[in-house]
Assembly symmetry: C2
Homo-oligomer: 286 residues x 2
């Protein structure tokens, strides 16, 4: 396997399985054909056509759309068409979080093929000239990708909370990193991908961060989502990404971006140009 294969895994989809989803004519996502037939049961909410699904201008306001779609999803969750409710609300947007057209439950985001935002932080130390990276192992009871290795801190970004607040919250919950240490955190860009899942499509944007920690800092999980933390030389983490499926799929991309920015993957890699461009594509296939 190669780094490029890891990126490919997160960028595999077939748009023939989907119809575009729009809000008042603005494309925001993609819906699988099977679900569009279900949505056809609510013609007052969804205009379902062969060319796409639209929430029309009869639902004018942010609040109206949020409320009506919440009710539809409630029924679909009861019927088992949509697997579950998450509880956190995500913005529906084809641009940035601040341009939300309405809000939707996090567990429905992939069903509607909506752009979702997350934050992942690479925690690392320099130990006698050797750079080492912290990774957390997800608990066995996680809904997706249990037992896989994760970035030190990684989480979705709900609506109505700032990037700083959410990062501070996740850093404390997942790794017991106090807010004082976060003063040294460096935002380093974004990684994007677009993956088809059984539920639908995930055109995701991950805000990436680096945090250099003291060698003696010991993370521990406060919310029960991480079973253990490991601190490994970056070269070993690189091999793990390249040669195994131990790392959560989208975390591979965040680590590959780290390896490029810190010179562990060099221009001598024959895929270098493609790695850099594919990690940073416009995520939504519009």
């Amino acid at each position: 396997m190669s780094y490029l294969d890891r990126i490919e895994t997160c960028n595999t989809y077939d748009l023939n399985h989907f119809r575009p989803f729009s809000v008042d004519g603005v494309r925001v996502g993609w819906i699988k054909h099977g679900l569009t037939e279900q949505l056809n049961r609510w013609p007052d909410v969804f205009q379902v056509m062969n060319s796409g699904v639209n929430i029309g201008q009869q639902l004018r306001s942010f609040e109206q759309r949020t409320e009506v779609v919440r009710a539809v999803i409630g029924t679909l969750v009861e019927e088992g068409v949509i697997a579950r409710r998450h509880g956190e609300m995500y913005p529906v947007t084809n641009a940035s979080r601040d341009d939300a057209l309405f809000l939707i439950d996090r567990a429905s985001v992939a069903y509607f093929g909506l752009r979702a935002f997350g934050q992942h932080m690479n925690g690392f130390v320099r130990d006698n000239g050797v750079m080492k990276m912290w990774l957390g192992r997800r608990v066995a009871t996680k809904w997706n990708e249990p037992n896989k290795l994760d970035n030190m801190v990684a989480g979705g970004l709900p609506y109505g909370i700032s990037l700083q607040e959410n990062l501070a919250k996740e850093s404390w919950e997942e790794a017991a990193i106090p807010v004082e240490l976060l003063k040294r955190v460096v935002p380093t860009g974004v990684v994007t991908y677009c993956a088809e899942t059984p539920q639908g499509l995930k055109p995701d944007v991950i805000y990436c961060y680096d945090l250099e920690l003291q060698v003696d800092f010991q993370p521990h999980c406060t919310d029960g989502e991480v079973q253990e933390f490991v601190l490994w030389p970056v070269e070993e983490v690189a091999e793990l990404v390249r040669e195994t499926e131990e790392v959560k799929r989208n975390c591979n991309l965040v680590i590959i971006d780290f390896l490029i920015r810190h010179g562990f993957i060099t221009p001598m890699d024959e895929d270098y140009l493609e790695l850099v461009t594919r990690l940073h594509k416009e995520p939504s296939p519009f």
Copy 2:
């Protein structure tokens, strides 16, 4: 002005002015319509059609293509159709440098709309907690963008020299950086753009590097291409990029990438996602 405007400046082109240029059916570049009419004078070399220009399989080998195109360019330079010869040879490729189909004089690369590769190095220091960046001011006699501010080291990448060798050579010529100091250089990715110029099209790939220097290091130019070096706080360099046209056009992009990677441009910037994706696009409009 905004950072996005600087990226836009380097990504402005109209493909209606061009025809695709292929080698044995493989697209490698774009040629302005005016030049295609000139090339029509050499039907044994160039098949000129409305749909594009092709160097056919009658010219089978790397050496044959290189030699025949060199002769055509010689005539076009004598006639003033192509402005000049540079003397360095560049690879003709739609992939990486190692996949060259033939070689062409550097000063003709834009006329044929070929992918070109360069290397730019950000030199910086940390001075009492303030990060400062070295910039060089180009001499007044430079053929393009004289007197503009440039990255500490920046140069094109001719064929037949490794990335390491070329960076060492440019670092010594442009800033008198000894090869020992380059042991600490970090390759950090690529920046790409595609710009239309009076000559043609420039779909360029710049390999980017960071070099942290001691506070007392003083660069000086050994080849007469830089008139002075300045060391300014990164925040001031950021303002210069955003608010002025003091910086060479493509160096703005290398600096914006540096500002993102080091957290000087943050996700609070409303253009953040677009900045990151546009700096790293597939450069050739195929």
